[in-house]
């Protein structure tokens, strides 16, 4: 098999687009639930709309991951680090999938609509029930903190490879001629 050292253009596009959406969503989400500001109503509408977009993007991303080849970590990476990288990636993918789904479920359990920029509305997934709402509301918040932890590990590792090891791992997700 031909060895590759870069992600495909489609993988890079979806990685960076989702990075932008996910970081904006996490910080918007965590701040809007503690805010009494006048923009809170519009913030929630945006959060729901971008949540649907993130759910669609993660589905496309999973298909993209199957049909494209990801570059392997260089052999210089110790086994424990490779395992940590793998677990972080599993955590990131799990968070990407569970974040929008728990949000959709908590809204359904509270009998509320999730609208995509006013164009269409998602169907309810569960019937209205306060305990179901409590479960998914708390899950949505806890997954957000876990997600931030995985992102922190992911970014730290990427910077470690790019700035200290300079072994091409960071460059594999950057456009242009990086090693």
């Amino acid at each position: 098999m031909k060895t590759i050292n870069k992600y495909s253009a489609s993988s890079m596009l979806i990685h960076w687009a989702m990075a932008l959406i996910i970081l904006s969503m996490l910080f918007l989400g965590l701040s809007m639930v503690q805010s009494l500001a006048v923009w809170q109503v519009e913030a929630i509408a945006l959060h729901k709309s971008f949540g649907i977009l993130a759910l669609v993007l993660v589905a496309i991303r999973l298909i993209n991951k199957v049909v494209t080849t990801s570059p392997a970590l260089p052999p210089s990476v110790p086994k424990a680090q490779a395992l940590a990288a793998h677990l972080t990636q599993v955590g990131l993918y799990a968070s990407m999938i569970l974040m929008p789904i728990s949000g959709w479920l908590m809204q359904s359990a509270d009998g509320r609509h999730v609208s995509f920029f006013g164009l269409f509305t998602l169907p309810g997934l569960v019937s209205k029930d306060i305990e179901t709402y409590a479960f998914f509301r708390e899950a949505h918040g806890l997954i957000a903190y876990a997600f931030l932890l995985f992102i922190f590990m992911h970014v730290s590792a990427a910077l470690y490879h790019g700035l200290i090891k300079q072994d091409g791992v960071l460059g594999s997700m950057l456009p242009g001629k990086h090693k």
């Binding site: 009494l36 500001a37 006048v38 809170q40 109503v41 306060i130 409590a134 509301r137």
Partner: protein, 213 residues
């Protein structure tokens, strides 16, 4: 909806200070009249609220009380134009023609409403008042003049009631920002703060229900 027609303050920050001023001292369990006086002196926008409070006489029934939207909302017409409104639920019954109040019961008002509804549905006229350019729909502390165009938009009819515990309202988050098509929230900072505050209290209540069952 609530009994006062206006708020005492216009922002969540000032409302927080109002609640602090009205809170009893944690040790003596008594309110501090000096603190309350100082708060209202520092907030002259509370004049309309205090005027209302000075002349307010509670009725002897939920069915005869008048309720106000307090905050303003927009009605959107067929040309997509927004009209700022406040509304009143005006009772059709008055204290002279209602069931007697059992003053010995802690649930006197609830029981009376039950008796009243058993006799005939309790009705309210929904009166919508329209703001003019002189009115600031984003300020809930100022009364709009009586002369504003007012329409009777319909009748609210209470034909049955159920106990709060285990009833359909018990597990509901009352959020005045969940609105039907054609009604939109104004930018009133107090109205805008209500959704988030009620969402937080509903979240805590839901968590309690989940963990205690």
């Amino acid at each position: 909806m609530n009994t006062p027609p206006v708020m005492a303050v216009a922002t969540p920050e000032a409302f927080f200070k109002q609640l602090q001023a009205l809170s009893p001292d944690p040790v003596t369990k008594k309110r501090s009249p000096e603190k309350i006086k100082a708060f209202f002196a520092a907030h002259p926008e509370s004049a309309a609220f205090n005027n209302w409070k000075a002349s307010y006489q509670p009725t002897s029934s939920f069915a005869t009380e008048q309720y106000h939207s307090i905050n303003a909302f927009y009605l959107v017409d067929e040309n997509n134009e927004k009209h700022a409104v406040r509304w009143i639920a005006k009772p059709q019954l008055s204290d002279e023609n209602i069931q007697p109040l059992n003053n010995d019961s802690a649930d006197a008002l609830q029981l009376q409403l039950k008796d009243q509804v058993a006799q005939a549905p309790v009705k309210f006229d929904m009166l919508f008042s329209f703001a003019t350019e002189e009115d600031d729909e984003n300020n809930p502390t100022v009364l709009w003049p009586q002369s504003r165009k007012t329409i009777n938009a319909g009748t609210l009819v209470i034909s049955s009631l159920q106990a709060q515990e285990g009833g359909v309202c018990a597990d509901m988050n009352f959020d005045p920002l969940v609105l039907p098509t054609g009604i939109e929230p104004s930018a009133d900072p107090i109205l805008r703060a209500r959704g988030a505050a009620y969402a937080e209290s509903f979240r805590r209540r839901a968590k309690e229900v989940l963990l205690n069952n």
